[in-house]
Amino acid sequence: MLLWQKEEQTMSLDDIKQLQLERLQSTINRAYENVDFYRRQLKSLNIKPEEISKLEDISKLPFTTKQDLRDNYPYGLFAVPLKDIVRIHSSSGTTGKPTVVGYTKRDLETWKDLVSRIMVAGGVTKDDIVHIAFTYGLFTGGFGLHYGAEHIGASVIPVSSGNTNRQLLIMQDYRSSILVCTPSYALHIAEIMEKQGLSADDIHLKYALLGSEPWGEKVRAEVEAKLGVIATDNYGLSEVIGPGVSGECLQKNGLHINEDHFYAEIIDPETGEVLPEGELGELVLTTLTKEGMPLIRYRTRDITRLFRDNCACGCTFIKMAKPSGRTDDMLIVNGVNVFPSQVEEILTEFDHATPHYMIFLKKKGHLDQMEINLEISEHLFFDEMKKQKALLDSLTERMYTVLGIKPKIKFVEPRTIERFEGKASRVVDRRNEQ
């Protein structure tokens, strides 16, 4: 059995429910006591923490959204003073306010174990060489998996992202046995290997733990064949903890949620109503043990469904299906989260840019490419090439700074982009068309 914390991961359903209730009650007690936002919210709805006497009572509580995190920027949702916080992560810079999350020492210990569970379930052992090609920095993916892998006792190479040739050199020479990155980057590596005339036999990979963007079975089959690995999916979001929320075991049939630490619900995104197990809807997560920044009923905006099966891996935790979409307009481009509203806000900073734009998402090889078609003011379009070039450069640079990815910007003639009546749809996603 590939279980890192067997006692916890094989609990009976009754024991899980009891533990969840105990932890939910103390989470709410602490949040009410220590976080103004939650106290105000509950008071305004006239709800007392002691009204939560069974798990289902959680539906009485209001949701927490990303906007709430922004409104309480930076530290408003922390439940401990900053001197007890030992790590701060944040969403990448946006034009609006970023979201900030803080971890206590105990949170980091918990996080390590949760990531270790997912890595062990995905095939990692202490004898492995774990090659992490996630970006390090404010993004939780790199550090999250890094500490989980070290905790198992594996040898960790913090390669970080980019420079695929160097990645391949390390993979061959350092004999990386586990690859951690986004699915699209795994495919990109495979493509470069092909170009260099390398095959799966020239590298030493056994397993790939892929995450941070949605992907399907087709991609899995391709990664597995081209890199010679077994590939599993793992899921997490920085607001909740980062990676370590859920992950596939080698059965590759749904992601086990670490439900002793997170309480999962599926809601109807329109009405907010809790849906029965098995139905498709938006995933809502409540942290059960987080000290630094507890989150109550956080709307992930990811669409999935929950189910229990007698998984052959031995883990009794509930599963979520691979997320199949979003309930908001967030785009995931090479693992980076981008909102069209960010693009729009950047455009307002530039005099000659108009608010008329279209975003096209395409595949360039196996990587995502974001193209923006933008109308510029008439006189700039017709006369000044030099100024046009300058605008193009500074826009691209600004987009890169804010979004974290470099879009390809194309200027188009005034009044050539469709004018929308009612809700604009400015995004065309062609990544799944070949």
Binding site: L21, E22, Q25, R30, S53, K54, V80, P81, L82, D84
Partner: protein, 241 residues
């Protein structure tokens, strides 16, 4: 072994316990820590029906026992060592122990007596002395011994360290650890968080009748949130250094 969910206890109109949920697994040693007046004794009393809970559920060995009488709960295998020992001062050590097994058959009583006297040699030595003449530490041993006479499966204990010198506290806790290793399940209330977390497997932190924190003892040991549960917040602003 023991599962308490959303237990509420009132004294008149005053709510002493707010939705308390805890569990203790077989052969586990779990502590309930919190400052004076947090509600620790109320929970132990509630578990044994000494104070009847207003709502909530208590399950012991898969049987719901929420409101059954204390005497029956003791018979089922739950035993309490009360706060402040409460030995019978004018009775001998031996008589005190006998009292603890009054519901049991002679056979069980004899077996438990032998077990207790072996575990606490000092009680064997002082067999015939009046309990009132024993030191505080010896009285605590006697109180534990008396609770063990009913052959409990679950031992509840209230403030074992109260009024005892550090060395004696250590002694008492070492005996409890030996009992745990011998297969006994222990749930104790203790104000002295550091000693409880040193010996127990897990802990729950009670503050104003609510559980605010829980976890394995080694996770809780250095947690500043425990200090706050005892002493209140020492900060006004989150960013204060």
């Amino acid at each position: 072994m023991l599962r308490v969910s959303s237990l509420n206890i009132y004294y008149g109109a005053v709510r002493a316990l707010n939705n308390i949920s805890i569990h203790v697994k077989e052969k586990e040693f779990v502590s309930l820590i919190g400052s004076n007046g947090a509600g620790k004794t109320s929970l132990l009393n509630g578990i044994l029906s000494i104070v009847p809970p207003k709502s909530g559920e208590i399950v012991f060995q898969n049987k719901t026992i929420t409101n059954i009488p204390t005497k029956k709960k003791v018979k089922m295998g739950i035993s309490l060592v009360p706060e402040g020992r409460r030995v019978f001062p004018n009775m001998s050590v031996y008589e005190n122990l006998e009292m603890g097994g009054y519901q049991k058959s002679t056979k069980i009583k004899n077996r438990q007596m032998a077990f207790v006297l072996e575990l606490f040699p000092i009680l064997k030595e002082r067999n015939k002395q009046l309990a009132g003449m024993l030191s505080g530490g010896e009285q605590q041993m006697l109180a534990i011994g008396r609770a063990l006479m009913s052959d409990p499966k679950l031992l509840l204990m209230d403030e074992p360290s109260m009024g005892l010198a550090p060395l004696i506290i250590k002694n008492v806790y070492e005996k409890l650890t030996a009992l745990k290793e011998n297969g006994l399940t222990i749930f104790l209330a203790e104000q002295n968080a550091s000693v409880a977390l040193k010996y127990a497997d897990r802990g729950y932190v009670l503050e104003n009748g609510k559980i605010v924190l829980q976890g394995k003892s080694n996770e809780l040991k250095d947690d500043n949130e425990i200090k706050r549960a005892y002493l209140g917040k020492e900060y006004k602003e989150k960013w204060e250094r």
